[in-house]
Amino acid sequence: MMNDFTNNSFEEQWQKAFDDASLTPSDSVWEKIEQGLSIEETPLPQSPKNTFPWSYFGAVLAVLLGVGSWLFIQETQLQAEEPVEIQEKQVIKMPESTHSTSVIAQKENVRKPLNLPTKANLAVPQKEEVPEEQPNVLPEEIEPERIKLADSISTLSPLPVKKLTGSFQTPPVEIQTETTPYYEPTKPKPKKNSILKNVKISVGIGTYQH
C-alpha cells in the first residue's frame, strides 16, 4: 500500500482527484441567481429619488444664509445709528418752537451760578456791614406787577417784548452751529451693539465677523 504514495503525496492525490470534478447544478440555482441580480439591479432606477443634489442645495442654502445674515447685520447697524441723527434733528428744530433769545436767557440763567462770588468774595461781605446788601431792600420798593412782568420777561429774554416777536419769526439757524458759545453739540450716543454683532457666522460662504 505504501508503494501507491511513492510518486504522489496524500494531499496531491486528493487534489488530483478533484481537479476536473464537476457536478451539474439544478436549473433553480440560476433562476435564483437571476432573481437575486434583478433585485440588486432594480433599486438603481429608484436611486434618482435618493440622488437629489443635496450638495448643491446645501451650497445654495449656505450662500443664502450668508447673504441674509450680512444684510441683517447691516440693517441692525443702521438702526443703531438712526437715533443719533434724530436727536441732532431735534436740536436743530428746537429754535423753531421756542424763541432764540429765550434760549440765550436760559443759558444766562444757567450760567448765573458761574458768576456767583467765590469764597474770597463771599468773605468780604461777611466782614462788611449787613445794610449794604440792597437786593433784599429793592423788591420792597418795586411794584409787585412790574416785578412779576420783569421776572416773566427775564425768564424769557432780557430784550423788550416787541423785539421778541420779530426775532421769533426769523430764527437764525447759524446760531446752532458749533461756533456759537451756546451750542452744545450733542454727544453721539454710543452705538448700540446689536445682538448679532459678536455672532461669528461660519456657515459655508457666510460672512465672518470679529
Partner: protein, 176 residues
C-alpha cells in the same frame, strides 16, 4: 482569453446572457467545491447561488492578477466558510491529540476512486475538521492561513487535519 475578456466586459454591462454563460462555464466545478464544504446538495446549491451573486456584484474588482477561475473559486470558498461559520460549526473545535501520530499508519491510495465517493467520505467527516481538510489537503492553504480564516489556532488546525486524515484513512482501509 479574448472570449473570457469579452464575457467579463459583457457581464459588467449587466448582460444577462453573458452572466448566464459565465455561470455555466464555472458552476459545475464550483458546485463540487461547495459540496466539499457542506453536508448535502441543497446546502451546496445555496452556497453556489450566494457565491455567484457576489461574483457578479464584485466582478469589477477582478484585476486579472490570477485566472478568473481561481478568483471565482476563492469567492466560493469564502462564501462557504461564512456559511459554515454562520452555523457555528467551528465552536468547540480544539486540539485532538489522539490523531497526531497516525500519519504513517497504513496510507491507502485513492487512485481509481470516483470523486463522488471521495466527496461522500469528506461529508462524513466531523463538521470542524471537514473544512480544515478541504483547505489544507485540496485547496493547499497553510495551517497559519487556515487558522486566520476559521478564527482558530494554528495548533487546532493541525490537529483537526490529523484527525480528518486518520478518519479518511480508516475509511479507505475498510473499503479496500
Amino acid at each position: 482569453m479574448e472570449k473570457e475578456e469579452q464575457l467579463i466586459q459583457a457581464c459588467l454591462q449587466k448582460d444577462r446572457n453573458a452572466q448566464r454563460k459565465l455561470y455555466q462555464a464555472y458552476a459545475g466545478r464550483m458546485l463540487v467545491v461547495c459540496s466539499r464544504y457542506t453536508q448535502n446538495t441543497a446546502e451546496a446549491e445555496d452556497v453556489l447561488q450566494e457565491a455567484f451573486i457576489k461574483i457578479f456584484q464584485n466582478l469589477d474588482k477582478f484585476r486579472g492578477e490570477s485566472s478568473l477561475g481561481a478568483w471565482i473559486k476563492r469567492i466560493v470558498i469564502n462564501v462557504a466558510i461564512n456559511h459554515i461559520r454562520a452555523q457555528q460549526h467551528f465552536q468547540g473545535m480544539s486540539d485532538v491529540q489522539e490523531y497526531e501520530n497516525q500519519f504513517t499508519d497504513g496510507l491507502t491510495s485513492i487512485e481509481g476512486i470516483h470523486f463522488q465517493d471521495l466527496l461522500e467520505m469528506i461529508r462524513k467527516l466531523p463538521k470542524g475538521c471537514q473544512s480544515v481538510f478541504n483547505l489544507y489537503a485540496i485547496e493547499g492553504y497553510q495551517h497559519k492561513e487556515i487558522a486566520e480564516m476559521l478564527n482558530i489556532t494554528e495548533g487546532t488546525s493541525k490537529s483537526q487535519y490529523a484527525r480528518a486524515r486518520a478518519i479518511l484513512q480508516s475509511q479507505l482501509s475498510v473499503n479496500s
